[in-house]
Amino acid sequence: MKKYTYTEKKDTRSGFGVGLHEAAKLNPDIVALTADLKGSLKMDAFEKDFPERFFQIGIAEANMIGIAAGMTIGGKIPFTGTFANFSTGRVYDQIRQSVAYSYKNVKICASHAGLTLGEDGATHQILEDIGLMKMLPGMVVINPCDYNQTKAATMAIAEYEGPVYLRFGRPSIPVFTDPDQVFEIGKAWMVNEGTDVTIIATGHMVWKAIEAGEQLAELGIDAEIINIHTIKPLDEEAILKSVQKTGCVVTCEEHNKFGGLGESVARLLSTELPSPQEFVAVNDSFGESGTPDQLMTKYGLDTINIVEAVQKVIKRKK
């Protein structure tokens, strides 16, 4: 098992804030919009340095998505920022018609995704957003795994022409990816090469997959770990190549098991390479109040859940 270490923990939303600021320095067409959550989305530096390109919309997410779509006409590249719940479910039809169907160059940037938003509870913890967004034709869906990757992803989507959903979170988690990485949309990252099982993880679950890989190594199981940061378009080649070798797969995501990364992988494998698969995901449930760690444990998204899923899926191999 390749050794991963970290010296600090940071929130992925701060990676977004820094990435947005960096991208804005490079491209004067980038504009930022928020629905009364500039602090939570770490957009303060952008507002301070580019006040004329910053738009406070107020608590009106539908209007924000529509304004963003309109701003592309004339060449601006709008980044909208609010919580994941208000970035997707609340404004699905606005995104569908004014952004996706109209194919506008809007970057929908969503913080506080999943259970790890914590104490605010289920009204704010969306676990359906990946599914909602990946079903929209032409929508790119990205869920980076740490501060550095989120920063790099933010800068990469600024260069990409077309609608993007970028999903990140609130809690401080280990920073373990390369600070100078080049983010390639749709390209899987090989975290660890192995032979016995393929663990495919996205977002906050990638670090847990690494922890699981270390524990599995002690049990004599050689896990291949792949980070799928881009859920759509899916790096099908990387997944098929890995599962061809290992013969089974565990998918890990902070999302409902319905509609998420796991289902995308299952769809691919069912047609191309039928293989045993286990899902580490929320079991068709809403969340609740609690600390992020408590919630990840209660809803089965911990390191131990990945280890157990791997043991189970390996037994299912013929």
Binding site: F55, I57, G58, A62, N63, G66, I67, M71, T72, Y103
Partner: protein
Amino acid sequence: MKHTINELEDIVSQVRRDIVRMVHGCQSGHPGGSLGCAEFLTALYFETMNHSPEFKMDGVGEDLFFLSNGHISPVFYSVLARSGYFEVSELATFRKLNSRVQGHPTTHEGLPGIRIASGSLGQGMSVAIGAALTKKLNKDHSLVFSLHGDGELQEGQNWEAIMFAPHNKVDNLISTIDYNGQQIDGPTEKVLSLESLEAKFTAFGWHVITSSGNNMEEIVKSLEYAKSLTGKGRPILNLMSTQMGYGVDYMVGSHKWHGTAPNDEQLASALNQNKETLGDY
């Protein structure tokens, strides 16, 4: 003026023929609101707006128009075609398979003149505000126009946009309400009362003007007046009274023709009431 009122009225007559023929041709679509807005759209594209049928999505240096109530697509398509955005013969493909002239306007098939999809109601004012903000950032002094149904104002997103535009001094925007008092299920006052739109928009901080949308001379003057009010710190709201189905006697003023196509006999009657001026497609 680029055209005389008589010339504009001749164009409107042809637009009305196009509308009823398109809707008849596929036996679906929305003739009522389309007919009621024929003068307005004709005035915009043939007189008021500075625009080029050499369509460029970004529309830099041009006035832009956004149709929020996308179901009145027949009038929009007719006016775009008659302005030279695409061949008028393409109107015959309205609502048919493999057509760019979709039931509701869309960028998806690449029809020139369309800058956003609309149909799901209530979204166009936000989009128009966004385009207006970009014009300001680009130091582009041309204007943004939008059209909305009165019933459409029952959608809540409008009121988010209506609150936003004056607060942010979006004064390069002229939004028009097609105030015909009708929606699919009946008169707006029965379905969900709008109360005084003039008072509401004024209270939200808009500069409100009223106009008569089925009088060509008046709507041209009203739009010129609206243009003179831009750049003064407030968005402009043109509360335009129209009659649904105007120009076809058996359709006038009734919500029953919101989304119903005429039969052969009714088509002949409608065409008799609107002379062919520019040549049918």
